[in-house]
Symmetry: C2
Subunit: 419 residues, 2 copies
């Protein structure tokens, strides 16, 4: 079969569905989401059976334990997908929301209306729950979605998509609002990236390799999440207990996540009091430390030397680089130079420096006296996230329904003409 | 000289300036703008002298009358540049504005802070006033700007940039906040488009050729303004007098502008009453009409047949294509299919259809009972515009200070850690 034609057919169908979705009611979209959740629960047995086939295949192909763990579904994960759809259905609807409607000197009233982007293409790996989560957010925000999951999860994804379709069937919304690429042909991704005439945004969810390939190959706007090189800066005026709690939590609460701290920066004035205690805490947690020459002796035994490369490495593991800086300016400079514009935190009781940090650190999330681990859509009250953006335009940080939509201008007149 | 190295030096300097601007105060930026306005007035004689050299060159090169007209400066145009800078200085400052700060269940407070994009690259043609207008908006919004004007306006642009620099000199803001490419080497544009590491957004201001070249050659986000194929749809329930006034104004108030109407759509039910009067009005104004078979006889003598090509043509001239449609759905379908997502209007007294149109027409500006000619930054109360976006992400329609900035998340905690 011609994968190019197959993908184009999907895109054309998605564009038609998007037109219908753009004028759909909240009630219709929420009904489809709730019915989809119900269908997931009813189909639990089929879902687990389909997933079993993917797992068996993964074992034959000797995929890593970690990959198989991410791939696996159980009753609990099925239920949490269903709950996720219900939570999205319960979120307020942004579509059609009008804001800032103001009269202008000419007499016309000018405002903004929030509208869906149109067609979203999502390219992701393993985790089958993304199929339900991402489709839910796109549907809620009035977008049609084309999903290309990993071939290792194809059976699971097909089973989940079938539930979403039966949810759509209970409404007048088009089935093609949610489409899954049913072929594991690698060419499908390339074909999707070329369909800029029909697709409004691409959301790649996976490793840096995937993101870079997508950015290199497409003219379609991409929601990029390169990596999470997150920093915590302990200021001279940091409260010692808060500094310890946050610095430990940001690194050790979970290792393999993008909002975990990878580099700890400590102000010279606070280093002698804080670093010894932190060294002990990290050793107890089994975290390998790589530090600058000033920090090393203060952290105690068994601390390696940090190389230039450490400052730009996302470990996603029990490894931490530590650097002593002169103060706020050097900390901000380090973060803006070596960081990935993801999530960075300052611990300080000094109001002025807290706001300097908030203002000058050029990242999607900037935190004061709170662990970087809070940087996600649920903790921010977005309800869910389709990803975390490290770009500067359109959407920064966790991207929820708002990032899947944009605002156009609306103008209300009474026969007004330009003089 | 090595133009590539020259452009990179500009970009590096701009990046440094942007860092400083990101933490600058409104007072500093507004002072620089007001001092720049003053400098323009003081330097009027030098500005006109520099412009004279460009005009002489343009005459030698036999540039078109229209081009020379756009290139020409006089006392009035110099004054309006100065006033423009003062108006921008008087606008509220968006930089650092915090919104939506709300407490979350965990106890952290999460909000948005509006921040500059960083470094803006502007590529434009002839009109020297763009140098002052665009630099003013970028400076106000805390961005560093690299400007590449047309070689035909080089002397004028250099003189204007000199005034902006003397304005910056009265403050502590870096001179490199505003940089003009001082070489007319065509390779400068290509070099600028390759500096994605330093430049955050490119704003091309010129013909479709320029926009398409920029989009094809760069990985930097582009504020695209392809063209303005604007529509007015006269609904069955249109008030005849309003319909006439708006349909005539949208086409004839000014011809060479992107927000002028290029295609008139009329509902079948209103065609017989409205088209004869409109035919007369357009004939009086000297507008050439190209119509569909249904509209042609109703418009009276001397009306040509519209071809498929007419529906996708931006005339920028006293030419109008006219089509009779069955009703709202066909009108919206036509606009979303043939239009350029710029500015489209419905004339109707029917509330339901007015909102259907607002909701479903996928354009940067959607107007009800108001001429498409209102679609610009000044009329919308943005104060000024750096351009009009026909894209869907980040910014749609007229782009002012808001489109030159974006919002990052800020999180305020009291030692909060993730459990």
């Amino acid at each position: 079969m011609d994968i190019g034609q197959y993908m184009k057919d999907l895109a054309v169908a998605a564009r038609h569905a998007a037109t219908r979705l753009a004028s759909s009611s909240s009630a219709e979209r929420n009904a489809a989401l709730r019915a989809g959740a119900k269908a997931l629960r009813v189909a639990e047995a089929e879902l687990l059976e389909a997933n079993r086939r993917d797992i068996e295949r993964a074992e034959q192909d000797e995929l890593s334990e970690a990959l198989r763990e991410r791939l696996a579904l159980d009753a609990e994960r099925v239920e949490s997908m269903a709950v996720g759809l219900e939570q999205v259905a319960a979120l307020p609807d942004l579509v059609g929301e009008v804001s800032e409607l103001r009269s202008q000197p000419s007499g016309i009233r000018v405002g903004r209306m929030r509208v869906p982007l149109g067609v979203i293409g999502i390219i992701y790996e393993s985790r089958p729950n993304v199929t339900a989560d991402a489709a839910g957010l796109c549907l809620k925000s009035g977008n049609a979605v084309i999903m290309r999951g990993g071939s290792e999860a194809l059976h699971s994804n097909l089973a989940i998509a079938a539930c979403l379709h039966s949810g759509l069937l209970t409404t007048d919304l088009p089935q093609k609002s949610v489409q899954l690429v049913e072929h594991s042909d690698r060419a499908a991704v390339g074909a999707l990236l070329g369909l800029s005439e029909y697709v409004d945004m691409i959301v790649p969810r996976g490793g840096r390799g995937l993101i870079e390939r997508v950015n290199a190959e497409t003219r379609i706007p991409v929601l990029s999440h390169l990596e999470g090189i997150c920093h915590v800066y302990l200021d001279d005026d940091a409260d010692p207990e808060r500094a310890l709690a946050i610095a430990v939590n940001a690194k050790t609460q979970r290792y393999g996540v993008c909002n975990a701290m990878e580099t700890l920066l400590v102000a010279k004035g606070a280093a002698t009091t804080l670093l010894p205690r932190l060294g002990d805490a990290y050793r107890q947690a089994g975290v390998e430390l790589r530090a600058c020459p000033v920090a090393r002796p203060l952290l105690g035994a068994g601390v390696g030397a940090a190389s230039e490369e450490d400052w730009t490495t996302e470990y996603l593991a029990p490894v931490l680089s530590v650097r002593v800086v002169a103060g706020l300016d050097e900390a901000i400079e380090h973060i803006n130079r070596y960081g990935s514009a993801h999530s960075d935190c300052i611990v300080t009781e000094h109001q002025g420096r807290a706001w300097e940090f908030l203002r000058r650190v050029d990242s999607g999330s900037v935190l004061v006296n709170a662990s970087t681990r809070f940087a996600d859509g649920f903790e921010y009250g977005l309800g869910a996230e389709v990803g975390i953006s490290t770009d500067k335009l359109h959407a920064r940080g966790p991207v929820g329904l708002e990032g899947l939509s944009s605002c156009k201008f609306i103008v209300l007149g009474d026969g007004h003409v330009r003089l």
